[in-house]
């Protein structure tokens, strides 16, 4: 029974991730792609060696983009659903829907925003091909570190909450997370490989569109998965959610 519940949640998580991926794909295509094209235009104008195209631009910006974004959505949807199974009823007295949205918000921060503030997304022509190994290692390291510290901060908050109360325990946990992330930012190496005359506005717009994709992805996931999980776990509609609710006791 419980194993079946986990399986059902996992399937719903992957489907919600796919749906959120579709939403993020719309943002990527309409907000992100124009910036990718401008950056490639800059690259072509400043480089004299022309590489042979393995995959055409029209495929990269449509089917290729869709493959990447949807697989990313499904994969993180599955992982988030498994994290949801752990978190449900353990992080606090939240309904499945609220737990899902809370988890998505934390995932957006820990998986994307925290690594992004140290190692932001870069458009084509920003980045030295010779340092790809170092940059990839540091990016994944920052991502793993951020997720582990977020889990650690959550556990710390739960441990402290009987003695400090939920409010102060949460404040202490968030502060501990911020200090630990600050130390990681301070000690991990800086990477700045933006070409000298690369347009600053293009870099800014590219990074904003990358951030917008993630906000839509995780926001969409939290809402869709929360709805699916709520219906799976609380099949009877709660009185408080229907239009003609009986006045609740509180």
């Amino acid at each position: 029974m419980n194993s079946a519940t986990v399986r059902n949640l996992l399937v719903r998580g992957m489907l919600a991730g796919l749906a959120a991926g579709v939403l993020a794909l719309v943002v990527a295509y309409f907000l992100g792609e124009p910036n990718v094209d401008s950056a490639i235009g800059f690259e072509d104008a400043h480089s004299h060696e022309h590489e042979m195209e393995v995959v055409s631009r029209s495929l990269q910006s449509t089917a290729g983009l869709a493959t990447g974004v949807l697989v990313y959505g499904v994969a993180f949807g599955g992982i988030a659903a498994l994290a949801f199974c752990f978190a449900l009823g353990r992080v606090g007295r939240f309904s499945p829907r609220a737990t899902a949205l809370l988890l998505s918000g934390c995932a957006l921060l820990a998986v994307y925003v925290v690594p992004f503030l140290k190692y932001p997304a870069n458009p084509p022509s920003v980045g030295d091909p010779d340092t790809i190994g170092k940059r990839t290692t540091l990016y994944f390291l920052m991502m793993v570190l951020s997720v582990l510290l977020a889990v650690g901060a959550t556990i710390l908050g739960k441990r402290l909450s009987p003695s400090l109360g939920t409010w102060y325990a949460t404040v202490v946990a968030v502060a501990a997370f911020a200090v630990a992330i600050g130390l990681a930012y301070a000690f991990l190496p800086v990477i700045n490989e933006v070409p000298k005359d690369f347009p600053a506005t293009l870099l800014w717009r590219f990074r904003l569109s990358a951030l917008a994709m993630q906000i839509v992805l995780w926001g969409g996931f939290g809402l869709v998965f929360g709805e699916l999980a709520q219906r799976l776990l609380n099949p009877k509609p709660a009185a408080a959610t229907s239009g003609r609710a009986v006045p609740a006791a509180h």
Partner: protein, 73 residues
Amino acid sequence: MAQSVAQPTATNPVVPATLPLKAIAPWAVFFGILMLILLYFVGAEQGATSVFSGTDVHEWVHDARHLLGFPCH
């Protein structure tokens, strides 16, 4: 942990029960690894490291890799 688990009361009837770790673990291990492999292929294959030779995977997900924030090239 036990005291924070669902205690249905009149004012808060919808606090969910926790799922036992034993039920989650096999799914988490198997699908967790599978999902991480998918992320590897979207985010890093034929960039920093390669399982397959060539650049087809890299070129196919090129735009997604840039826009999803992974270091690309």
